[in-house]
Symmetry: C2
Subunit: 209 residues, 2 copies
DNA sequence: ATTATCTATAGATCTATAGATAATGC
DNA sequence: ATTATCTATAGATCTATAGATAATGC
């Protein structure tokens, strides 16, 4: 037998397979992050990907599979900064570093941030399981870590859950509400710098023992 | 002449007109806030309003008019807490009061919060003019006020624009990301209390001169 | 031989309107 | 007489598939 033992229906993806699947996902990220799941159409994705609509459905079984694939891929990237909160590091440095990395992700990956925001905003219909299985355990673990730092007096007394949520809220705001930020503070570059300084000050003061 | 001088095509709305328009708007708030503009359908709105679909279009000229009407109405309510930031009050009390009122609005009007979030997230296609004409002047005015408080040493040195955005981000997070908050912190009542305490502490520390 | 792409279109879903009928207010 | 509601449906938009044709890899 020459099959790969795991699944006889699966063939190794060709070069073109891989490349075109990536193009579709890249285009879909654009479209889904801007219009949400239902607001996005295969036509828009096809146009953005430079492929025909039926051709897209040759690579993915349907609209939903594209969306789910994106969400699954992003989950990991998205949790990465939190996962790197190091129990052995200096608490203040670790937490401020986390804030910085999180803001950096908003700056560099605003589409990813908006894709998630859209999904959560609409009740997380396709991501609820992932939140339970992926996010929650990590969240609980890091809350315990922060709690231990707080108990040991290495940072101020603070509610770990709401601390983390505040970090998410403030950093993601700049990506998710970009259309509003742009109106209120048109100087983009300066704005990101000022945001970083502001968040560092805010969380430093909050956490100072 | 017996017409009302302003617009001869307009008649005073009947009792039923007013009541049914309200029912439609109430239902539409439900549906739009959950699915976004394109994700919402007139069928869903009609169902939620308990009216037939053509009947809804008897009261509104189309889907877009319903959405725009909602956004226009909400803008005022939404800006109200910021508008009440009083130059004559005690700076710290005013700002912490603002935080408290803003969080309260998230708790009491999560659908309104999500309606706005959806609109902004998708680039504010139907609200950009309102942001410029309604939000921006008020925002600039209050930023100047906060700056003057900061300059006078009555609160700590702080970037007013990013302070306000942080207040928005943290308070609205609890409404907009409710689906996620629910997973991570299932005890709803306790969560709102803890959120209030957390935000008060955070902004008090930030603003303490 | 297998993989990739295209044209054409089925079938579902949605917004909106036409036109008839019922309810309401003088 | 005017206002409100209903049935039926036009016309647009969308997802997905069928089936033929072209390109690629042994």
């Amino acid at each position: 037998m020459t099959d790969e033992a795991t699944d006889s229906t699966k063939r190794k993806p060709s070069r073109i397979q891989q490349k075109n699947r990536k193009r579709v996902l890249e285009a879909a990220l654009d479209v889904f992050s801007q219009h949400g799941y239902r607001g996005a159409t295969l036509d828009q994705i096809a146009e953005a990907a430079g492929l025909s609509k039926p051709n897209i459905l040759y690579y993915f079984s349907g609209k939903e599979e594209i969306h789910v694939t994106l969400l699954n891929r992003l989950m990991e990237t998205w949790l990465d900064p939190l996962a790197h909160l190091d129990p052995r590091g200096d608490p203040m440095a670790e937490l401020l570093g986390y804030v910085r990395r999180k803001l950096e992700m908003s700056r560099l990956y605003p589409r990813e941030s908006r894709l998630f925001a859209n999904e959560i905003l609409q009740g997380a219909p396709r991501m609820a399981p992932h939140l339970e299985s992926g996010l929650k355990p990590l969240f609980d673990e890091k809350c315990a870590l922060i709690q231990s730092w707080s108990d040991a007096g290495r940072i101020a007394r603070v509610n770990p859950r709401h601390l983390i949520m505040s970090i998410w809220a403030t950093s993601q705001h700049y990506a998710d509400f970009e259309a509003q930020v742009r109106v209120l503070e048109p100087e983009t570059d300066a704005s990101w710098k000022a945001a970083g300084a502001h968040l560092e000050t805010m969380f430093r003061k909050l956490l100072q023992p």
